[in-house]
Amino acid sequence: MSNKNALKPAIHMQKVCKSFGKLAVLKDLNFEIQPSRKVALIGPSGSGKSTILRILMTLESIDSGRVMIDEEVLYEVKEGAPPPHLAEEHVSKIRAKVGMVFQSFNLFPHMSVLRNITEAPVHVSRISKEEAEARALEFLDLVGLKNKVNAYPAQLSGGQKQRVAIARALAMQPRIMLFDEITSALDPELAAEVLSVLRNLARTTDMTMLLVTHQMHFAQEFADRIIFMEHGTIVEEGSPEKIFQQPKEERTRSFLKTVLEAT
């Protein structure tokens, strides 16, 4: 692990447990991510990767443990105790640091591309409409869709929708970006255009990025750290070279063998 800002992790999860009914999705999970790092979470379906992102975005609560973002407590639940009531104001302040892009895009279908991007900056961050629109155009340019500014989501391809969704999340200027299998619903060709946007983004910003993906080749070139998960626990983590070339754990080896053979 790098020494850079080593004392102040951007994301810190301690002993986090989470179950859906009887199914334990996360088991005593511990990890931290330093600021500006690009981290890829890989592992079989149901291993709890997406749940981590959803907890960080406050879309799911936790059963026990502690979750911190920028050294501020987002969740802290003692085992067996009822979840403490967190002031919405506090959660909202932390949530403002985090942005998320979803597998199914989740654009607002009743708004134009421009309004999809400006709506939150104007009504949540309360910046002026002019500034929000200028910013939106910048981000649309970044994802290569400046010409779609007045289009509606229904008029876009899946790849374009996802790129708008990326611009929409960026417009809130988060410190941490979460990408939840953002190319899984796309044809390879459309996935490629989304990945190229992401690759650019990873190179040019100092945002902390956490990516859940099934595309091993992309994880390898995008991330500076790979976390391999199975059954709600971290099996192995390390640099892409280490994980992909010399995995220590048998389970990592067999997983990589299966998925790399399939592609």
Binding site: M57, H110, A154
Partner: protein, 215 residues
């Protein structure tokens, strides 16, 4: 033919009352449907409790008995009102109860992912409802709302039972004095039909205006 012109002033004044009842009741029904429909979705019993009571009572009892209650029974408890007021209130509350279920269904039809996207952008719950969910639900509300409005128009004839002389009642009075059932009820049938047609047309226009799948 000249006979028909003789009836017109009577029929038109009845038509005016029917329109007044329909429009007035719509103004009662829309806010009731929205408020009760949303309250019904709340997890807070102080909201959904009253909403469920309202919806079930007004859907589950006959509109005619409700009219009798508002006009003949409530005065015994000190609530006296004009027949027209009672008519507008009862019809509005009645359609509002059906409308509440339409609103609830439409709001629930908006995918969960839309709430999640809104939350990820840090919208408050209020903003999420107002800016993200309701505009999408509105499109789904329109077709069944058109149905309910036509239903409302036709049920205005009920209020003749509490002394209001709307279109149907006027027709009956004319029939009693002229015995020309076919002509009179023929005209009335056409008038109702034209009104219903204009409601359908108006809703279509709204649907086109607010449809967001502009491909």
């Amino acid at each position: 033919m000249s006979e028909i012109f003789g009836w017109l002033p009577n029929l038109l004044s009845g038509l005016k009352t029917t329109l007044l009842l329909t429009v007035g009741a719509t103004f009662v029904a829309c806010p009731m449907a929205l408020a009760a429909g949303l309250a019904r979705l709340s997890r807070n019993p102080f909201f959904y409790g009253p909403a469920v009571c309202y919806i079930e009572v007004f859907r589950g009892t006959s509109a005619l008995i409700q009219l009798f209650w508002f006009y003949y029974v409530l005065p015994h408890f000190g609530f006296q009102m004009e027949a027209l007021t009672a008519g507008i209130l009862v019809l509005g509350l009645n359609i509002g109860a059906y409308g509440a279920e339409v609103v609830r269904g439409a709001v629930q039809s908006v995918p969960r992912e839309q709430y999640e996207a809104a939350k990820a952008l840090n919208f408050s719950k209020m903003q999420t409802m107002k800016k993200i969910i309701l505009p999408q639900a509105f499109v789904a509300i329109l077709p069944p709302a058109g149905n309910l409005l036509i239903e409302l128009l036709k049920s205005t004839a009920l209020v003749s039972m509490i002394t209001i002389t709307e279109l149907t009642f006027k027709g009956q009075m004319l029939r009693a004095s002229t015995l020309k059932s076919t002509e009179i009820f023929g005209i009335i049938l056409i008038l109702y039909f034209l009104l219903a047609l204009s409601i359908t047309h108006g809703i279509r226009k709204l649907e086109r205006r607010f449809s967001y799948v502009k491909v």
